[in-house]
């Protein structure tokens, strides 16, 4: 088995701030993902990466940057936090064509 660790669990930022969320996996999976979950809107794909140093935009990439410097880690940066923004950011990983494993999420609040 393996685990996906997301840090921090809770993140409170100020409007306009650049905020970074981190994710580590020990499954040795090639593909990693960042999803955003808003209440009542399901999960939306922000970025994904199929291998180290690869980045692919998802459906919601505007306002975000991502970085995959190692196979085991994938970070997401909110380039300019929006006031009253509140969402859960979920990191995930998988092997091609198989089950996707999720972390427990980072809960973002912007004041």
């Amino acid at each position: 088995g393996g685990i996906i660790t997301q840090t921090p669990k809770f993140l409170i930022g100020q409007e306009g701030q650049k905020l970074t969320l981190k994710c580590q996996q020990n499954f040795n999976h090639d593909t990693m993902y960042w999803y955003r979950q808003d209440s009542g809107k399901g999960l939306r794909l922000i970025y994904y990466s199929i291998t180290e140093n690869d980045l692919q935009k998802g459906d919601l990439s505007e306002g975000y940057d991502a970085s995959r410097e190692k196979k085991s880690s994938f970070s997401l940066t909110v380039t300019s936090a929006q006031k009253n923004e509140m969402a859960v950011f979920l990191c995930a990983s998988s092997r091609q064509g198989t089950e996707v494993f999720f972390g427990k999420g980072t809960r973002l609040t912007v004041v």
Partner: protein, 113 residues
């Protein structure tokens, strides 16, 4: 517009009863997955059913897939309080051969004693 959508939006049953969640999708798929998300956790896969399969079982869970009507169902028999969660269907868009799951908004299931 949503590419995958569950219905109903919410369900409430008593322990021991059976329940079915439905999913409709709009794209051509290679597989459909059902996930469960408990409070404070990330989603966890329950069943993966490929486009050439019609039914898949996992313990008390049974998923069906009808590619002609682009629909799927997830049935849970003998429900337990710990089945309380949000249930999502997710379709597999095989762009460049890599998983790009598209999730619905989910069905909230409450199982009470």
């Amino acid at each position: 517009s949503q590419l995958a959508e569950e219905n109903p939006w919410a369900l409430s049953v008593h322990e021991g009863e059976s329940v079915t969640v439905n999913c409709s999708y709009k794209t051509s798929i290679t597989a459909l997955q059902w996930y469960r998300q408990k409070s404070g956790e990330g989603p966890a896969q329950l069943i993966l059913i490929r486009s050439n399969e019609r039914e898949k079982r996992n313990g008390r869970l049974r998923a069906t897939l009808d590619t002609s009507s682009q629909s799927s169902s997830l049935s849970i028999t003998a429900t337990r309080c710990e089945d309380t969660a949000v249930y999502f269907c997710a379709t597999d868009r095989h762009d460049s051969g890599y998983n790009k799951l598209t999730f619905g908004k989910g069905t909230v299931l409450l199982v009470s004693p």
